[in-house]
Symmetry: C2
Subunit: 437 residues, 2 copies
């Protein structure tokens, strides 16, 4: 099975856990069977591999997410990197071209496209396998998954099937309705459109060549920023007469808001927190190293991260976006492919951060024009390279780097250091990469 997982952009609706560089699919919030916490993307990837150990998974995403994906899923997973955001049709065309021209998947093999962030049970992936098989049979150009609605939702698009069979031709598509219309749809036997569909690779490749001017994957990649933003639904689905829908009945949740996300959490507290007996339907997610205490609250979500603290009535939390848009603050925490960093202190002419390097990893060899830096290694072992000179590094070692000096650290074991940046203009953009000698 070939699967393209669409990994969407920055989500502010789960602030302070999601932000411009950390999308909701990377938040570790779901208790795994081993007792640790996993993210949406880790959960879905494990579910796919459980349904089909041989599944070929490609994640279509932006450059900003590549580090997080490698960090959470390992280096093996396929990634189709969009050079910039151009909506779902260009993204799916690019990923499809990638599968064909880079991964050499033949044109008659089926591909399933699925968002990376639904919260589903394992049977969903059995259904996805089946969707791929239907596409491969070629009875229709597109096979969609239609989710049996559990209530007349105003948040989803609807698919009206021609009949009540497990697999049926699609009669028509409907946009997000109001409540009364949604109720009417349900009476007609309509299904939710969860954005999951399958096709033969060649079908979308042909559509791409029809609509976009390119030769192969590499060419499409280079022209990507010239493409018009257009959704796959608008460019392909709505114009295609030959579409089937396959019903899926099972748990399917879109965890887009704190309200729906907390419903999916197995426990009410993640992180260091306490609540009194007066708390009803309260969820606390605390990524900080200090305790949260909640008393006498009802229907409230509390979320604390290095970026900030949200305390919200659960219903109200879906209106978070305009408030978060007002917050203009530097990124306080980020996962990178080599590890992570966290801002500890911000002053006018200094910035103190904690850097954690994963074993065997290193940061880019780089220098800064306008700031000096001081490293104090606090744990782990590794090697520093400063202006091409290599030296062993371990706890207590102090490395002073003046502006212009090239530097990196290579971790043998997990290595942590405190970095103090000093300068009148400290900016994330002041970074010149070099080749490590």
């Amino acid at each position: 099975m070939n699967i393209i997982l669409l990994s969407g952009g920055s989500g502010k609706r789960l602030w302070p856990l999601s932000n411009d560089i950390r999308s909701k699919q990377f938040i570790k919030i779901f208790k795994t069977e081993e007792g640790s916490y996993g993210s949406m993307v880790q959960r879905i990837y494990r579910q796919i591999k459980k349904a089909d150990p041989a599944a070929d998974v490609t994640i279509a995403t932006s450059k900003a997410q590549v580090s997080s994906i490698h960090n959470q899923l390992g280096e093996q997973v396929g990634i189709s990197v969009e050079p910039c955001r151009r909506d779902t049709f260009p993204a799916i065309a690019l990923a499809t071209a990638y599968l064909h021209h880079v991964r050499h998947i033949p044109a008659d093999e089926a591909v399933v496209v699925c968002p990376v962030d639904p919260y589903v049970e394992d049977s969903y992936f059995e259904a996805i396998k089946k969707l791929g098989e239907l596409a491969e049979k070629g009875q229709a150009n597109l096979v969609l998954m239609g989710i049996e609605p559990t209530y007349p939702s105003e948040k989803y698009g609807y698919i009206i099937p021609e009949d009540q069979g497990l697999v049926s031709p699609v009669s028509t598509f409907k946009e997000k309705p109001d409540l009364e219309t949604a109720k009417a749809y349900l009476r007609q036997g309509a299904l939710w459109n969860g954005g999951v569909f399958a096709y033969k690779l060649g079908y979308v490749l042909d559509k791409a060549h029809e609509l976009l001017d390119f030769t192969d994957y590499q060419d499409l990649f280079c022209r990507y920023d010239t493409l018009t933003k257009i959704s796959f639904d608008y460019a392909v689905v709505e114009k295609e007469p030959d579409i089937q829908v396959m019903r899926y009945k099972g748990q399917w949740k879109d965890l887009g808001t704190w309200n729906t996300l907390t419903e999916a959490m197995g426990e009410s507290i993640v992180g260091q927190a306490m609540m009194d007996e007066g708390c009803k339907n309260v969820h606390i997610i605390n990524e900080l190293g200090v305790p949260v205490l909640a008393m006498g609250l009802t229907d409230v979500v509390i979320s604390a991260s290095p970026e900030g603290i949200l305390v919200s009535d659960k219903e109200q939390s879906s209106y978070i976006k305009p408030f978060v848009d007002q917050i203009d603050q530097q990124i306080m925490f980020a996962e990178k492919s080599w590890g992570s960093f966290r801002v500890l202190d911000v002053e006018n002419e200094s910035l103190t951060i904690k850097v954690t390097l994963n074993p065997g990893h290193r940061m880019n060899y780089h220098s800064h024009r306008c700031r000096d830096e001081v490293w104090t290694v606090i744990s782990g072992r590794g090697e520093t390279v400063v202006d091409d000179i290599r030296q062993e590094a371990g706890p207590g070692d102090v490395i002073v780097m003046k502006a212009g000096c090239r530097h990196t650290v290579i971790a043998q074991t997990e290595l942590k250091l405190i970095e103090v940046q000093l300068g009148q203009e400290i900016s994330v953009h002041d970074k010149q990469k070099s080749e490590l000698p």
Copy 2:
């Protein structure tokens, strides 16, 4: 006017702003006329000086608070340091002996004793002046302030006066009543006992010599840890037949819980925070450098500090103590006479803190047995002394101190540094002080 302000112990009921080393009276939460924020102790001190610029103020407190008091009120204020906590009678006896033997206040001058933490209007201090004048006239051995109740409170003790005059003999004292009893007291014209009283210095000094075995202040100080814990009410007030009460009608609030404290706040937000229009009667006090966002909450207090985060229904917040007692965490922030420190990062074998030194101040000259330290100066100018060698220090300077090495930093301007502590056993008790050469 001689005033003894009783500055009580560590309060957990305003966690996370108050803790074992930071009492509620030092929290900067009240907007001053100049637009900055002041603490309870700063507010009351300013009010006293406004009522009587010549007032001689002595703060009776524990050693742990001396730094905070000097930091907030300056070095001039008189402090009677209790070597250990022994309840109010020994504390008042010690402070009275201090006034007589150290400050040479004659025995026939009046002294007014007042808690450091009531939230009152300026007229309260006019009343206190009057209380002192009544005591000096000597018509009674003790003159108490009786606060006109605004509601039948169950939280306060009551004074039943013999008549309705401004100044009246006391008929009897009553412990904290239940609601019905409180209502009955109010019908009898009872007054709240706010713990404010005046006496001639010699009266309490005589009582002290009667009940405690000591010669003078220095002797009492040395014997202090052998004294029995006993309250002034129990030891003196309840046994004294010759007591007057003076009525006070005006704002008087005991800011002991988040509920009462937030009522006294001039504005609903202190620190970096936003709330949506759905928030009703919400107060946010945020000492962290990241934003708090509150949505759709009613009657809630949110308080965030380096020690932790409280989110509580206001009524419920008065039951905080048992929860805070469960929190066993190192102190994350402290004000010292020389400045302040804040813990930025805690690891098994390292601790990173930010140290801020006030201009002209220095920390003790000291060493550690079991840890190395690295300083990176991030702002300001000063001088370091390391194993008796003095050196200028400014932004970017890095000082490495191995275990056993004596060190301090003397700030010329406000000086900030990042200190990384490294060792297998990092403890606040591992500190050996030396004389600065």
